[in-house]
Symmetry: C2
Subunit: 402 residues, 2 copies
């Protein structure tokens, strides 16, 4: 049995970012940028007014001065002439400052009298003018590859005049759930059968992490059936098997995949829940991750190993959920030789401290309880018992669409 | 001018959750549940083994006892007979415990000798058996309406045998950007024109919040054009206008919408950036939110008002981003009468404290800077200057796909 850290290192090592594709900017939200976004223009493209008012020559303005109104400059309709001595031009927010003008007299500081505008105070040079390129200059690098694009990034790319972006395609993850006993929801359930919760749960997790799940048909506990289904996953970025990775006679995935050229890397991790995690690659080079069939174990393993793998395949700089600190509301017992991941609730103390409390019962068959958990308390192998008030490392589960 | 809080209250007051639709479970991730999920079966559906081993009668087991192997119970293939005195049945994880057996002797504690199984220790009653309904009982309510479904919820609904769920449909938000000066990225830009960043940025924000953006064609600064475009938004859950909500002569949205029966609620808020925020409803009852044309102002207003509105329309219990506390890394000046929202970076201090530092320049024309911000520092009207080390309220921008 290897450690969680070593397992993660070995799972991530062979993974490289998937290829790229071009998407319309309107479809790029949430995608991972693959090519830097370079400004195609200055923003603003010219000196523009930041306010509604009058474009003036600062030297002409003093309280009581009357300026001659010679035209108007709404946004999108620049004034073609020049503002001479004693003249002004009506201007609106976002409009180009006309030649000759060097300041904006805001309308609150001006009185209009026919074709004259009376300033009630001085308009200092440069006041209320947004300089060309103040936000960014043409050719500046605005967004770097590896960034998962948020709404504001879409705004920046739009302002930089990019109708399309180059992003990583979504990593395609094939899901192969095995077992004579499982059926998808609503399908006939045989004697001793159960409804498969893993396939759809993990497909959702893959979507949450920006991947594209490909649900292979459920495979019965049969070498040929498993092999044939696995071959259908050729060309996907990873084959994820569910169940059958343990030691029982009916755990056929390893044998079935051996016929597909499986090179096994490891198949047991010193962790709980989730000991029987398998890793390897097929003859084609396709990475294989074999999750335990128990849904709680499968989910915890996915948080620890699949999310980082998806991050690596997606080309983001990060590597999935990062531990943060929290304070125990209640003590926890000593741990054995397997890294433990206690399902827990979070709260915030009066002084703003993040508090965490493990559920009293940690049975790995309790999916409902896992769904209620807001965090996993990380308990390293051999960790001593800890009293209430001790600081522990946790993985938050409440912010990833999990 | 009204306060931010009053504006939010008035925007939210008339909003009710949108209607519902049925989606396949595989498509329900990220959607808001509209009808509770009730378990359609017990989980597990019967007493099942938690381990690979032998189903036994506890009373028969003692170190050295030989048990007669009478059959096998793989998962999905229940053993039809009964385990009598001195007998055992080979069993695998997840398989139904046969009648007569009351304990599982795990395979590590047993030696097989032909048709005999020798126990190396006692197997206490109930050991390694997952009781029927241990996770949940048929008819228990597993997921409540209003929940935004994460991957684990999908797993729970699958385990409860639901192939479909009833969710809120995505709130449809029509986006109407106005201005003679704006063009979408890659389209011809006229003299004094700029590329519109708001439409696509806000469409992305609406998606991030689970809504469905409907991008109306850009409208020129013309009453009829704006009115005709707005009429195309009939039936949407909200009309979002962008630009033209200020006081200038060329801010036509209010006048144009007056012809559509606009009842104005308010159109100025004591805040920065974003003073000219308009709210009202059309003759049809359709809510209208008018965002400022400045992208930084539009985005900040969207975080403060549009996200809560989308949460309300989506039927989630929450109301959008919630302020949290952070400690100033650098002092901030006194504030005037308008609530301010300083763009800022976050970091974590050595003791785990969340630290925040405002960008030195807060110009509302700097979209690039807004995209780099990780938080908004909330500065109430009339707030005194604060030194480094003071605690402030912030809105985090780093966790909403913003």
């Amino acid at each position: 049995m290897i450690s969680v850290e070593e397992a993660r290192t070995r799972i991530l090592a062979p993974l490289v970012p998937v290829g790229t594709e071009t998407v319309a900017l309107g479809e790029a939200w949430g995608r991972v940028l693959a090519r830097e976004v370079v400004a195609r223009l200055d923003n603003p493209p010219a000196d523009v007014s930041a306010m509604d008012g009058y474009a003036v020559r600062s030297a002409d303005t003093r309280a009581g001065t009357a300026l001659r109104l010679i035209g108007s400059a709404p946004a999108g309709h620049p004034f073609g002439g020049e503002v001479g001595r004693g003249e002004c031009v009506r201007i609106f927010t976002g409009a180009v400052v006309p030649n000759g003008a060097d300041s904006i007299l805001i309308q609150e500081d001006a009185t209009r009298e026919g074709e004259a505008v009376i300033a009630s105070c001085e308009a200092p040079t440069g006041r209320h003018i947004r300089r060309r390129g103040q936000d960014f200059d043409r050719a500046s690098v605005l967004l770097a590859p590896g960034r998962r694009l948020g709404a504001r990034d879409i705004g920046v790319a739009a302002a930089a005049n990019h109708p399309f972006l180059t992003v990583r395609r979504r990593p395609r993850i094939a899901l192969l759930a095995t077992g004579d006993e499982i059926a998808l929801p609503g399908e006939p359930i045989g004697p001793g059968g159960i409804v498969s919760s893993n396939s759809l749960m993990l497909a959702a997790l893959i979507r949450a992490a920006g991947g594209e799940p490909v649900l292979l048909p459920l495979a019965t506990d049969d070498n040929d059936a498993i092999g044939a289904t696995a071959r259908a996953a050729a060309g996907m970025d990873m084959l994820l098997t569910i169940g059958g990775a343990s030691v029982g006679e009916h755990d056929l995935v390893r044998t079935a995949l051996a016929a597909e050229g499986l090179t096994l890397d490891f198949w047991k991790i010193a962790m709980r829940p989730g000991k029987p995690l398998m890793h390897g690659r097929l003859g084609s080079g396709q990475p294989v991750l074999g999750l335990p069939g128990n849904p709680v174990s499968a989910m915890v393993c996915s948080v620890l190993f699949l999310l980082p793998a998806l991050a690596r395949l997606s080309g983001t700089g990060d590597e999935g959920p990062t531990p943060v600190e929290a304070v125990l509301e209640e003590g926890v017992g000593a741990n054995d030789h397997r890294a433990d991941h206690l399902r827990a609730r979070l709260s915030v103390g009066r002084d703003g401290t993040l508090l965490v409390r493990a559920f009293p019962r940690q049975d790995s068959a309790m999916l409902r309880r896992l769904a209620e958990a807001e965090a996993l308390i990380l308990r390293p192998p051999g960790a001593a018992a800890l009293p209430a008030g001790a600081t522990v490392q946790i993985l938050r589960l409440d912010g990833y669409g999990l």
